[in-house]
Symmetry: C2
Subunit: 212 residues, 2 copies
DNA sequence: CAGATATGTGTACTCAGTATATATTAAAAC
DNA sequence: GTTTTAATATATACTGAGTACACATATCTG
């Protein structure tokens, strides 16, 4: 978080946050599709055009931290410890995020309200899928670069596709586990167990691709 | 294809086809986002409301055969030969579709125009992703039933997620191969090679899940 | 302080999708 | 064969997201 010193940037950030906060609150209260942009503008006390100025699409007010996920994935592959294979680094990332209680894989009262909000809206589900595909592309390119292949190398694409599929299934299963057991520990276990199994399969699929 | 005998159904089918044909032609000519529903109605010589009567969403005029894919997946798992594991049956399906030159995995001049049309529109990509997720859900449930588990069994979900991810990557890579080599044979080979590798990894991830 | 620039905002528009009412046409019932 | 009944086509009028453009105002820079 840079927290810029000039007033203009600070004001812009404040406006952005006001809109995002108002929007997220309304989305969780009434469901994404039952909140209009006009209502969000009203609630954040800004003009309607200002909303679109900060968030080109309505969904962006809900998913406004996906860039952090990108950064983490890039860093995990790009700045991995010496001697660690790229795929291994991504598996370690999953474990580290859980150990550090990162909001990305947080299974808590908060996620318990967030997930149904997404599940209740086709638009939000569509954006979630798009982000997943964008992350898969990013991982594919990072893996390809790490093993010295073309950016669209099919091995890297397959690995990335399998990885994101695994994480998605693991995330939803962990969320389900939390909802049923009320235990963050059990949710974390369920998440990591599935990630490890997926990763094992992934490595098997990549057996013929050295150093990945 | 039932080809119904009563005039009413025949007329409805003809109207549907006229709209779908006009729409697909316009989409490929000018790109999905540069065609309005009014233009489609005009081209198909029907009223605007008739278009929405037949196709609730604009995207449905492009993806109007996804039900066939569902049928094939259901049948592959549900009516597999005795002694064939569900996952094996799905792998065999991929090979059979290629061998039978099914439109689903067709790499040809036609697919060469279809794929860029999808790639050029966020709306069509979103629908493609949604269909992929719907197919994954369907496969997950079919697998779960085949091995006597709950419909939301995590093993079945993981297997289905990995399978659809594999097929997606394999399809796009095969398309790329066709575009570059102009050879349907090479495209088919690329497709099946990736499907087989993904399936191998999938089986490894499922090693602890008997009979899947 | 003056000019350049980022930001906020209003007006007017396009287009997808929905609600509702009505007309027409084929099917079914008698 | 005439009368009901139901499916289909279509018009009108609406909602809401997103865009284009113009303009005002606040902030930064020289």
């Amino acid at each position: 978080m840079p927290e810029p010193s000039d007033r203009r940037s600070r004001k812009r950030l404040a406006t952005s946050k006001a809109i995002s906060d108002a929007a997220t609150r309304l989305f969780m209260e009434r469901g994404f599709d039952h909140v209009t942009v006009d209502e969000i503008a009203e609630a954040a006390d800004v003009g309607r055009m200002t909303v679109f100025n900060h968030f080109p699409r309505k969904e962006d007010m809900f998913f406004d931290r996906d860039e952090e996920g990108r950064e983490m994935l890039r860093a995990a592959v790009g700045q991995r410890a010496a001697g660690v294979a790229p795929l291994e680094a991504l598996c370690l990332l999953a474990h580290r995020l859980v150990a550090e209680r990162s909001p990305v894989v947080e299974f808590s009262a908060r996620s318990e309200r967030l997930v149904p909000t997404v599940a209740g809206s086709e638009t939000l589900k569509a954006r979630a899928r798009a982000i997943r595909d964008e992350l898969a592309d990013l991982v594919a390119e990072a893996l390809a670069e790490a093993i010295g292949r073309d950016p669209d190398d099919p091995d890297a694409r397959l690995a990335a596709g399998l990885l994101l599929a695994t994480w998605t299934v693991a995330f939803l299963e962990a969320h389900r586990t939390f909802r049923q057991t009320r235990s963050r520990e059990k949710a974390n276990e369920a998440f990591l167990a599935l990630v490890d199994r997926g990763t094992a399969g992934l490595k098997a699929a990549m057996a013929a691709t050295p150093y990945i």
